[in-house]
């Protein structure tokens, strides 16, 4: 008997107002559905919050709360403490989630606090590599040489001058039980990682690479292909850490970075600029060497 595909089973309903082809919507749908009905989600401000809760409606079929940009992890900590007090912590999954800006920049302090205090929470960072909701401003997780509205390309600029913040390593440095990176291009892997993360006690961290057709300037049908190429070129390594130790990496048949870059408007200038291209190649090379990604 074939698998039944029933949208009513998704804990993330249709009718949300994400752009066509939104990678974050795919990942959020998977995370909520895998976590199950007994889940409380604390959401940071960002695209995900805005497009899922067009007042007075909600796309969530689980308990969901939004407070501010910077405090998703702090709100989740409070929820977790309340669940613990009520003796329900073992039956309820508490998830905090936000975009890359709400996690790596604005919510960094409260995220670190949550990880340090040892709350039993899964933090999911949907990494679309800029502040997409407000109009593609660069964030701490914007990759090197990416064209954004606050790092525009011109005679004196090749886009974002700074490399991507090592957010996963920062989370790992807190010596938490589980930390991993995932991608919307590998959905079974993402599901497995969410399930695995929720099976651990204590703070867990997941960083999911989610293309944004609007901000990355690509066709809406290419979301999955681009996320896949990010992994296969070594620019977005999929790794898993357990108590600070690297336990697995997804091995790849390395592809040239141009294949990833050429599909996106935000990197169009890089292909015409050998020096910028070499910078991006260096990033991929460093990742491949560091994690031993090459098959």
């Amino acid at each position: 008997m074939a698998v039944v595909a029933d949208p009513k089973q998704n804990l993330f309903a249709s009718g949300h107002t994400a752009c066509a082809g939104c990678g974050q919507a795919i990942a959020a749908k998977i995370v909520a559905t895998v976590s199950g009905k007994k889940t409380v989600i604390a959401n940071a401000t960002g695209c995900l919050e805005v497009f899922t809760t067009k007042a007075p409606q909600t796309a969530w079929r689980v308990a969901w709360v939004h407070s501010l940009f910077e405090n998703a992890a702090a709100v989740a900590s409070g929820v977790e403490a309340a669940m613990r007090y009520l003796g329900k912590i073992d039956e309820v999954n508490v998830i905090a989630q936000g975009g890359d800006g709400g996690t790596a920049d604005i919510g960094m302090g409260s995220l670190s606090g949550m990880l340090e205090r040892g709350h039993d929470i899964l933090y999911v960072c949907y990494d679309n590599e800029a502040y997409m909701n407000t109009g593609i401003q660069r964030s701490g997780l914007t990759p090197l040489d990416s064209n954004t509205t606050t790092s525009p390309v011109g005679k004196r600029s090749r886009g974002n001058p700074r490399p991507k913040k090592p957010l996963l390593e920062i989370a790992v440095a807190h010596n938490i039980s589980y930390a991993a990176s995932a991608s919307v291009a590998f959905l079974p892997d993402l599901k497995k990682k969410v399930e695995k993360a929720l099976s651990y006690k204590g703070p867990k961290f997941l960083q999911v690479h989610v293309p944004c057709p609007l901000g990355w300037r690509h066709d809406s049908s290419l979301t999955i292909e681009i996320a896949k190429l990010a992994v296969e070129t070594g620019l977005y390594p999929l790794v898993e850490y357990e108590y600070g130790k690297l336990i697995s990496v997804r091995k790849i048949k390395v592809k040239p970075v141009e294949e990833y870059l050429k599909l996106q408007g935000r990197f169009r200038h890089v292909l015409k600029d050998e020096e910028a291209l070499n910078q991006v190649r260096e990033v991929a090379k460093a990742n491949i060497e560091r994690y031993g990604l090459a098959l």
Binding site: M1, A2, V3, V4, A5, D6, P7, N10, F12, A13, S14, G15, H16, T17, A18, C19, A20, G21, C22, G23, A25, I26, K29, I30, T52, T53, K54, A55, P56, Q57, T58, A59, W60, R61, V62, V184, L187, P213, D219, S220, S221, L222, T223, I224, E225
Partner: protein
Amino acid sequence: MYPIGLLVGRPGSSMDNKTGSWRSDKKPKFLQKDCIACNMCFEVCPEGCISGNGKNTYIADYDYCKGCGLCAYVCPKKDIEMIDEGEEL
């Protein structure tokens, strides 16, 4: 004491928004010929508006489909085609 924030008591009430009206160019046509029920289209659909039960039964809910084309792109059997909005299914 009144709640300070907005409380929404209807889970999944976003279903009230028929986002299918956003489609401007293409829409997916499920050919239902070579489908192997791999569930890929269902999994990748950002709207979560594809349903099916077994081979050659998958279909999108055009009330919500925004026509992004991801289902057609990932279909391993090329059994989903993007056709013009005006064309008949």
